[in-house]
Symmetry: C2
Subunit: 473 residues, 2 copies
């Protein structure tokens, strides 16, 4: 599907200025043309910062009339380049940053209504002030905006218990590519009245419309927490331990993170100031976090879990945090691993997921196949409870990542081919953006791709919405 | 959008027979042309019972070539007439009843893969045999098929804790209206690779394709249960009690059902053999069910909840089941209420939902407005934790429902208008089918309807899939 789009030029900007309040339209400053990985760079573009859904609708209608591409812009923190167009004619960047209101909060309903431009951390705080939890939690939460989290169906550390962003959304308000406003801010838990457009817009990365507001689910805040760092015999034992933990604590297992010895070793190598609990770093360990209701005792429960798991031969050592300071120490290790990785410098990194029971096979085969390519260090860690691994490949000590630039493609193909063969996903939580369009074409189901193209053509016949993202322009 | 479809006549049946194994194609017997409410009756039709997804694809391709309408058929238990076409040319009824295999079960992943024709109760049993829970639970589970549950996004009694059917599905296999097979049977918890077609097909009631298999989520089976029947001061107190219960038990509140005095009175009137726990039926009461992990004590927890709620003035009487027999007695009351209703004979019934905090206002206003229409008895009960009320209107003692036939429309409009005004849904769990097409047009968001029509036209340009359901033909 090829669409001839026009550039967002000075004349187009003038037309917009005439229709919108002063200060809404300007030239886009450099920060709107960059993305965190530094892979893509946008061309000079027109920036609009609407204050209301009506203004968003006006902008979309005018872009449609002028056949100008529109990039919905949240916090700009995405990792696959959905927020920057380096290829097409200069687009209209539509930033939601002025639409940040918490429109309403209903604690007894566990519901919050928020505009798309609100920063994730502000949404978390608003929930907390109402003695509730909004469980979406990720590294960029201080600058990521909820509209972007919805557009990309963001993951993060709360998925095991609370689901992905789409699972936290009851309803959406959005502007469709023809400028119509979709009024779908329902607070209902049950509503079977026609096709679920909410889930179609979530994860569409701005290619089917602009999300302007959302109704979000809140939860009771856990009354108490418990943390344990347990040494497991293997990734397979880790998966069985998760099953066992769920027997003890039901849905209240909040996190279940796998750590490999390489992670501890990188910390020793690059951040020796970090306190490590084990004299000898274990080959495989898991960090378990519980968020319990008032009527449970985390210490007693974790001790019982350890005992049962030890008897079953799944764990052979471990620590149960005896204080919040010790719990923070455990988490500090897990949260410092990405920084340790950065200091060592990976050759390539992958955001993959596989079915839970395929994790042992994935880890074994990926290691063996990469060893055939060359001699590398591998740090494999992450949200193992979700089947989501960060699988990062590093040079040996004394070598630099730059020496391996010509092996990067082979390494990526090795990891992605194996992921695909095991029924996995080559983008577990980051999305497709512009970076993985070719991967989606390579690994995606043909019927799915053809239906996606038909839907895109039906809802956005002019092809103005985030051109080139997700689907080839 | 009007499509000229051809009848599934003898010649069409012959063409199908030539392409498919013996015994696949026959005339549809009467049971395939009826539906439980007796409102719609289908015309003589051709019936196909494919044994594989490939055969489903062949049938759909041939129907598309011949421009014959196709009705995907599950257990035939739907309550809004999606499974019967009384208006168009005789269709091809595509029954999934021979595709009933549990293809695989992965207890450590909490995943089960099943063909669409499997009966819900068989899916529950397969999970149980693997020491897991598949929590979808509804009255028709002995004959409803999982494909129909997915097609209609069925609700039931497990929604409060586990979500609607869509929340229980990780992936789908389906045949699209052009005969392409969508291979989406992923077992992944995280997968951000393009538009979510799964959620588009779920709840589309067979109008966008035929679901042939699904990957479903399983859960740990609760280690122990607790049941209480508490007398609350008002519907508003019930909502606050639910918040309080979640503080005590987190996500482990499995059911929270509202019962009105009218329900008890109807049981006294029509089923005096049912043991009632209260000497004097309370105006409002709630049935609470807990499904706890191993490390909690339901008796202690419910007692603590009662004490706290009594102090806060929310409850003033109540019973905590001391045995499984007593728990069964409490549930027997709740589960007999629909039968009591049937014996009294309602003038009209409604499957509505409103935001949780609007429930008190809904109940008050609906009662007042209905009193202006006439003198009726109202039994309002149901899944109050989901905001889903069964709101049924009855004649006074000594009168029959037939005397009020001419007031039915006014009563329905009164309930639906109020529901809509409070941000509610006129179909909480049953869907649109053919019965509520006009209601969807009346109460639905115009932008949503126009996007739905565009998607339907894009994926099913010939209009062969379940013509006349959800959207007008």
């Amino acid at each position: 599907m090829t669409h001839t789009l026009n550039p967002a030029d000075a004349r187009f900007a003038e037309t917009l200025r005439a229709a919108l309040p002063d200060g809404t339209v300007s030239d886009a400053s450099a920060s709107y043309l960059e993305e965190p990985r530094g892979v893509y760079r946008g061309k000079a573009a027109v920036l609009a910062k609407p204050r209301s859904t009506q203004e968003v609708a006006t902008l979309i209608r005018m872009a449609a009339e002028a056949r100008v591409g529109v990039i919905p812009y949240g916090g700009g923190t995405g990792l696959v380049g959905a927020q920057v167009d380096p290829d097409g004619p200069p687009p209209l960047i539509l930033s939601l940053e002025r639409m940040t209101a918490i429109r309403a909060i209903y604690p007894d309903e566990n519901v919050l209504v928020v505009e798309a431009g609100a920063i994730l951390e502000d949404v978390q705080r608003a929930a907390e002030e109402a003695d509730r939890l909004f469980p979406l939690s990720l590294a960029a939460q201080g600058s990521a905006r909820i509209g972007g989290n919805l557009g990309t169906n963001a993951g993060g550390t709360g998925v095991l218990r609370y689901g992905n962003t789409r699972d936290l959304c009851l309803g959406l308000e959005a502007v469709l590519p023809d400028g119509q406003i979709l009024n779908g801010l329902t607070r209902l838990r049950k509503n079977n009245t026609g096709y679920d457009l909410r889930h179609l817009l979530i994860g569409a990365e701005g290619t089917l419309g602009v999300i302007t507001a959302a109704t979000l689910k809140l939860f009771a805040r856990p009354a108490q927490t418990g943390t344990a760092l347990l040494v497991v015999d293997s990734p397979s034992a880790a998966i069985k331990l998760l099953s066992m933990a769920r027997k003890h604590f039901g849905e209240m297992v909040s996190a279940f993170e796998l750590i490999h010895r390489q992670g501890y070793d990188f910390l020793t190598e690059t951040m020796p100031e970090i306190r490590q609990p084990f004299a000898l770093a274990p080959e495989w360990s898991v960090l378990i976090e519980l968020g319990l209701a008032a009527d449970m005792d985390p210490q007693v429960g974790l001790a019982a879990l350890f005992e049962e798991a030890a008897e079953a031969g799944l764990v052979h050592d471990g620590l149960i945090a005896q204080s919040s300071a010790q719990s923070a120490d455990f988490w500090n290790i897990r949260e410092s691993i990405p920084e340790g990785n950065r200091r060592v410098g990976s050759i390539c990194s992958h955001d993959i997921s596989v079915p839970l029971s395929a994790i042992p096979e994935f880890i074994e085969k990926a290691g063996a196949q990469i060893a055939l390519i060359g001699d590398f260090r591998i740090n494999c860690f992450g949200h193992v409870g979700d089947g989501n691994l960060h699988y990062n490949v590093f040079p040996h000590i004394g070598h630099s990542r730059d020496e391996y630039a010509d092996q990067r493609e082979a390494l990526k193909n090795c990891v992605h081919d194996l992921t695909d063969a095991l029924g996995g996903s080559i983008s577990a939580e980051h999305g497709i953006g512009r970076m993985k369009v070719a991967d989606l074409e390579k690994y995606g189901d043909p019927a799915k791709l053809s239906a996606m193209r038909a839907i895109k053509a039906a809802l956005d016949p002019l092809g103005i919405m985030n051109p080139g993202a997700v689907l080839r322009r």
